[in-house]
């Protein structure tokens, strides 16, 4: 409990710094008035907005006003949709969650068996093949993999739809695209975690007792290797969310990522800021959950 409170308290300065970085980027490097108004706005409109935003105040007062708005969830209105930015972002969240979840599922289904297999068959042809595949997965730009999958399965073979949502079939290509990127990283980590565990003495003991190799690998090996793996999975959240931004654009997936990219292209700063904070909050929370899961799975770990 003390651990939980301590970590929640540690989130606050991080969010504070994020707000400062975003504030500085948006208010200082660019002219917020021209960013918030469409390019067709008149000079009178600009002057009025400047006054109503309090842009004539000193910078630190502007920052505190800004901070107050953030705490109450007020990110301003999107000039494109004429709606509160936060609502727009939250509306798109379920679609992104769906894609992220499906991708994580694909990544887990690929990386756990392959990671274990290449650890057991260390330095064999299979191991070389799997680790080689993982390197290739990292070297390929993820959006290009998506394009190639569309080319093969939608254009040539006509099995899966090119883009959009609606059915389970729509999930397949985006989830494989994003899942592959995460699987490439996870396979490597599971392999090295497994290798470390299999070198432990209790594994030798289990083997010398005459246990079946499958039992040794599963019960004694994998269950212990799982501890770092859970943390790894949670730490992939940042990669996962970063990946959805691009994957959603490739597949026209109506999630938060697509909204954000559109907003950046249109310079719809209210939406950009709202999405940034929601994403940062998600990543921080999932890192906290990873810490908690780690403690739960391995009671030996004690944090001071």
């Amino acid at each position: 409990m003390k651990f939980l409170i301590k970590n929640i308290l540690r989130i606050i300065p991080v969010l504070f710094i994020i707000s400062l970085i975003v504030f500085l980027l948006v208010r200082v490097t660019g002219d917020p008035v021209s960013l918030m108004l469409p390019e067709t706005a008149t000079d009178a409109e600009r002057a009025q907005l400047r006054e109503s935003l309090g842009l004539n105040d000193p910078l630190y007062i502007q920052y505190f006003t800004y901070l107050g708005d953030l705490i109450t969830g007020d990110f301003g209105e999107s000039f494109r949709y004429n709606q509160p930015a936060l609502g727009l972002v939250l509306e798109r969240l379920p679609a992104s969650f769906g894609l992220a979840f499906a991708s994580m599922l694909v990544a887990t289904l690929i990386s756990i068996p392959l990671g274990i297999l290449s650890a057991i068959k260390r330095n064999s042809f299979i191991d070389l093949f799997i680790t080689g595949g993982a390197v290739l997965g990292k070297a390929m730009p993820n959006f290009w993999l998506g394009i190639m999958l569309i080319l093969l399965f939608s254009v040539q073979l006509n099995i899966f739809p090119v883009s959009g949502t609606g059915s389970l079939m729509h999930f397949v290509l985006p989830a494989i695209t994003l899942g592959t990127a995460i699987a490439a990283e996870m396979t490597r980590l599971i392999r090295s975690s497994m290798l470390e565990i299999l070198g432990q003495e209790y594994i030798r003991t289990a083997r010398s007792k005459g246990l079946l190799e499958a039992v040794v690998v599963n019960k004694h090996g994998f269950r212990n290797a799982l501890i770092p793996v859970v943390t790894i999975m949670a730490l992939q959240t940042a990669t996962l969310i970063g990946g959805t931004l691009i994957t959603e654009t490739v597949f026209s997936w109506p999630g938060m990522g697509q909204l954000l990219i559109q907003a950046v292209n249109l310079r719809d700063m209210a939406v950009v800021q709202a999405a940034t904070f929601i994403i940062a909050l998600l990543v921080i929370i999932s890192n906290l959950l990873a810490d908690l899961a780690y403690r739960y799975l391995d009671p030996r770990i004690k944090y001071d």
């Binding site: 975003v22 394009i147 940034t276």
Partner: protein, 308 residues
Amino acid sequence: MRMFSRIEVKKELTLEETKTDKKAYSLKWLKVLLNSKTGTLGLIIVVFMVLMAILANVIAPHDPAQTDVVNRLVPPVWAEGGNPDYILGTDNLGRDILSRIIVGSRVSLLVGISAVFLAGAIGLVLGLISGYYGGFFDRVIMRTVDAFLAIPNILFMLIVLAVIGPSLMTLIFVLGATTWVMYARMVRGETLSIKERDYVRSARAVGAKDIRIISRYILPNIISSFIVIATLNVATTIILESSLSFLGLGIQPPDVSWGLMLSDGREYLATSWWVATFPGVAITITVLGIIFLGDWLRDVLDPKTKTN
């Protein structure tokens, strides 16, 4: 007297030892190079790419911006309807894809290498301050690192690009300013451990100034890990550049970039597979080469961080 000669013998022995150590080290270095097939392959790919970027204007068979209305979307030479003038085919405006890939390598390498230099410089300075001096600076820098880690890199880049607007310089700046975090963490960690070692303590006891301790004792111990991370980071940066250009937020036409070519090619997937295929192959090969080279450098320079 007897004792004295003994010491002399021992001293000679250690000198001899260090000589053979040095020889063994360079032999080992050579052995690792020859033994590592992937390392050799990586080196070949990287040298090839660098030469291609430098000689782009000489070796490109066509002007990459030259449109040819008659020969739009010509398939590669081995496919049906291919034209021997355009080995990898042409895009929707009739521009030669091979020439565009050759010229596009310039942007990828330029952005990749410059951004890594920028990120490395920021990370090195902040990491050294954080690790060496500790205290308040350390706390501020490490919380900033946490904040950067909480936001996916690409998101930071999007905010800056939304505010400043895309261009080549912005791209290098943005990529550099968001990827410094990993260098800062590594440098801080190494500095923390090195500054407690006996030779640093004795240097300090003798009265060496901070700047001397950092440049003579700490930096040389960090530099090999640093080079390894920087090399591997060029690969990540190239992928990020192509992703941003693909999203329309990176390199702007008429400049040529592999990511930009992919976003053009995406529009013509239904009829012309080659437009979106070859630039991706170019990115993948380049990145693979850099990863191979980086892994090999790690084995040579920094054996303690070697992965299984």
